[in-house]
Amino acid sequence: MRIAYVLNEAFNNIRRNGLVVLGAVLAVFVSLFLTFGTLIFGEIARVNTERWQEDVRVIGFLRVDYREVDELRNEIEGWDEVERVIYYTPAEALEEARLLFADDPRQLQIIEDDPSIIPASLRVRPVDLNDYDTIKQRLTNSPGVSEVISADEAVQQIAAIRDGLRVFFWVLASALGVAAIALIANTIHMAIYARREELEIMHLVGASNWFVRTPFLIEGVVEGVFGSALAVATGVFLYNLARNRLADLPEFINLTIDSSFLVQWGLLLVGFGAIVGIVGSGISLAVHKYVRT
């Protein structure tokens, strides 16, 4: 009876204040949609620039039968324009290849049939990011190196855009997150004010504090969860739409990300929406005299 009553009160509040509630839900939605979008975009960028992480700019693939890896590595590390050399073992290389060709079953099959075709590699981080031409040249002439590739313009641009957008989106998402909390607080504030007579009587007859406050907390959580669930659903929908429409992108861009990534972050964001709701209504309950004894 008590729980039913509290829930009933919460949903009555939501119904009575339709437009204001909609505003709060939309604020949560926009803020968390941007956050989710940033996460998805970041993940796509990460997958596509995986091997260029940590400022690696040049990769030298080693011949499968080459054995003097340590000597070669020490030699390259001695070059003036090289800051660091990272050795990728055949096992690590295979792991990376599986990720890279995740959306290409045919390629994947070839790899799985004969993993030895995936070569080990030495990945070189230049002292100056523009030095990679020199390094590329010297690597090509080194013994044991079968092929040299370097991060081209496109990859470098993706990385740059990714870093810039990431900052921009996070700033925007936090600002909107604060706005969402404020809007939820305002919604709860209005709900409290609309019910001030009832609340006064509840206090007079001795309704316990949780009985008075819980409906407002639930209202905040419902708004937060609803807004965030909407954001996640929209995010997943648009991502799938984009992946299908942009199927004929140049091959080096891979739009596939792990579906467990979407599920995990989706759930996290819904949880975060609930927290936004609790904080918003908590702020309102803390400042409002009608809900205090």
Partner: protein, 301 residues
């Protein structure tokens, strides 16, 4: 049941509401708080319901140290106190029944208890036949009876009433007093602040008079004002000693002396008590008939 010890209260704007008030109310007593506006009557009631805390002194209510009670325990204290106000404080968009059941629901009573209690208290206040009305469809007196029903629904030990007849005409007021009297007879302690001379004079209950935040009179079966010598003939001076309530706290004579020195009462401004008493009795009977009618219609149904 209620004990105030050396209680003082000064508001933020340095208005002194109460000065060193001591008061004891036994279980089952009926006490009128009288005195001019601003004499501290409402503050006293607010301290008893722990709406406020005193600056100094102690307030004990229903066995609890109200003035030291942490705020999360206040709801529990309030369940043993019923409150009635001059402005009724009814919820306009709820029916009579819902206004009363609200008080039970929000204190977590089961549906079964609510279904049992609400008709009972509505019957007590004679509104069984108006359970489905909304407050605006009721007269002032009826609205006040709803608010009394709500206050009594939780079967409180104490009923605090702040000028419950302040907005009502004399005849209606008598009906309200009959109900409060009936509630008192069930063993509920009643403390009522009032300006209503006729009621206080007719009921002959304990009267505590406040002025400037002090108790200047505490009389066992008193009138609203102390009569000067010429009126004493009509009011036997030894009445107090035969009064039924055994536990008046302050010696009566002392208080009368105190009151006479400060009271503004004169024989000339005193409304004829006998006349008003008679009026009241008539009206009271009328009110009783209403209650009886309600009973009949209910037993029919």
């Amino acid at each position: 049941m209620i004990r105030l010890h050396n209680v003082s209260k000064v508001y933020d704007n340095s208005v002194v509401a109460l000065r060193e008030v001591g008061l004891e109310v036994a279980k089952g007593e009926f006490v009128f708080l009288v005195g001019p506006s601003g004499s501290g009557k409402s503050t006293l009631l607010r301290l008893m319901m722990r709406e406020e805390r005193p600056d100094t002194g102690e307030v004990w209510v229903a066995g609890k140290h109200a003035s030291a009670l942490p705020s999360w325990k206040v709801p529990h204290l309030r369940r043993s106190i019923g409150t009635v106000f001059q402005d009724f404080k009814l919820l306009p968009n709820k029916t009579v029944y819902e206004n009363v059941s609200f008080a039970l629901e929000v204190t977590g009573r089961s549906r079964h208890v609510v279904r049992n209690q609400v008709p009972q208290v509505l019957k007590l206040v004679g509104l069984s036949n108006k359970a489905d009305r909304q407050p605006r469809q009721l007269s002032g007196g009826e609205q006040q009876r709803v608010s009394i029903a709500r206050a009594f629904a939780n079967r409180p030990l104490i009923l605090l009433a702040d000028e419950p007849t302040g907005n009502l005409d004399p005849a209606t007021s008598v009906g309200i007093m009959r109900i409060l009297d009936r509630i008192n007879r069930t063993g509920t302690t009643v403390v009522m602040a009032t300006h209503d001379h006729a009621i206080v004079d007719a009921m002959r209950r304990r009267v505590v008079q406040l002025e400037g935040g002090r108790v200047i009179r505490d009389q066992r079966s008193g009138a609203y004002e102390i009569r000067v010598q010429s009126n004493v003939a009509t009011e036997p001076p030894d009445e107090d000693s035969v009064a039924p309530t055994p536990d008046a706290v302050v010696p009566v004579e002392e208080d009368v002396v105190l009151a006479e020195s400060e009271s503004t009462a004169t024989a000339g401004t005193d409304p004829a008590p006998e006349a008003s008493l008679e009026d009241s009795t008539e009206a009271a009977e009328a009110a009783d008939e209403v209650v009886d009618e309600a009973k009949i219609t209910e037993s029919d149904a």
